[in-house]
Amino acid sequence: MTPILQAQNVSKIYDMGTTKIEALLGVNIEIGKGEFVAIVGKSGSGKSTLMHILGLLDTPTEGEVILNGINTKGMSEKQLAQVRNNEIGFVFQSFNLLQRTTVLDNVILPLKYSTVPSSEWERKAKEMIEIVGLQDRLKNKSNELSGGQKQRVAIARAMVNDPSMILADEPTGNLDTKTGEEIIKNFLKLNSQGKTIILVTHDDELAQIAQRKIVLKDGCIVK
């Protein structure tokens, strides 16, 4: 398998003046195209930090992130934004939808920062909303939805610009077990369509559905 994403000797150290917090320490990861990888570990083990670095939202103190064979180290802020927009879809624990904004407009949001012409926005967004089964909620405001529905909107939003991978940070953390399972099914379906999925979770059981588990402890990969 060709690696789509590589982390080489990545460290993240927060300098708090008197103390230094080593959130990540010499992490090496290689993720293949189309893989479904789970990153697991206890709270505070550095999962979110790793996800932010892999998703180019944050830069490592040391080490490199290589996406599609291109080192992201020297990229400008604008280039990084472009790569996030085109290649990566994010799903967060707390959904992060725009308040008092319709489902449709929430899903359109990434397209506003893309090269997709505005005449296409609505069509593309509706297509994604249909895939997650919310076509009859198009004009509802995000705060009128249940938790599971909100996370489905977030998945539609992550998918709308057709990225090659999805990074999800505890996507079921705010949902009950049954709803959480349904959300995970969505990821499996996307994976079967060829999307690379990186699922961050502290729930070992949930991680079982992934092809591969990466276990973090105190900022280091232990398995």
Partner: protein, 393 residues
Amino acid sequence: MIYVPETIKSALSALALNKIRTFLTMLGVIIGVFSVVSLVAVVQGFQNYITDQFSALGSNLILVTPSVGEGQDPSRAFMGNKLSLKNVDTINLYVGDKISVITPSIRIAKTAEYKTKTYASTVVGGNYQSYSVYGLETDTGSYYTKSDDSKKASVVFISSDVKKELFGDRNPVGEKIKIENTNFEVLGVAKPKGGNFDDRIFMPDTSLKAVFNIEALSSIALKANEGLDVDEVMREVKVALLKDMKIDDFSVVTQKDVLSSIDQILGVLSSALAAVAGISLLVGGIGIMNIMLVSVTERTQEIGLRKALGATSKNIGRQFLAEAIFISLGGGMVGLLLGYLSTLAVASFINATIPWWAVALAMGFSIFVGVVFGTYPALSASKKDPIEALRFE
């Protein structure tokens, strides 16, 4: 790529989410622009009024008025009004060949009656030449003649408003109006002139003196011959009058003098307005900056999200700057509208007009304030680290 119309749309929808706050933030600019625009309109209206009045009289008009000496009690000056018909003769004698027309002028406020109607008018006494001194035009009938002057005839020539109020659509020529128990025959009606010229009743000064028992002249008005230097004629009038009176007893002014001193006053007023404008827009701008900074903090998570989804710092900065500009510009437009409505409200008193430059300036300044006071909040929004922003919960 985020298109400009998209920036505008998202700025407007963000502002629409918080309508009351948006309105309150606009308030500073609204009040600033409103007060400046309405004051400018009133000053402009005043200027229009003055200019109308004077251009109606003609630029070669010279006025002789009894002088109110400096530091003197005005009532004493009035009592000591030395202006008389003799002065008219003196001017005619020495400067007669340089002037086309001359009239004494006595002005008093009197109420005119016709049947059940009454009208508060300004009665103006002058000789038959006052017609051309005042630049009157006839609508119907005719002006009084030299022989009316010498006969002290009880005749009047009325302005358009007087005719409208007392006679409506009827033809007043030949009718009699009553002023303080004396009947006067209406000889003719003037065409409307604008300003406060249309409330007048003209009659021979001799008749006015006889009926109302008034001696002193309000002024002497004359016109220099076309082509002559008005200032030169004015000086000669002054020299002639010194044969009758002391220099302190009268003053001679031309239109130009009066206009330029009024312009000077309006100039001072305008600079005061500019200062008010500056201060109020500064206050409005600080209000905008304050609220925008609050809004940036409140929307930290939104900023982080947008960046995660592909927004650049520039996109974020532009979005917040656009919001600040729309608040300010919106405030400017509302202020302008209110200013316009206020000119309508005072329309019956003064013909206040908003000059095009004031509209352009109000809009320009609103945008300027939005840019100046929106830049710092926009910069702080654009600099937010997406991680920090997303952790903000």
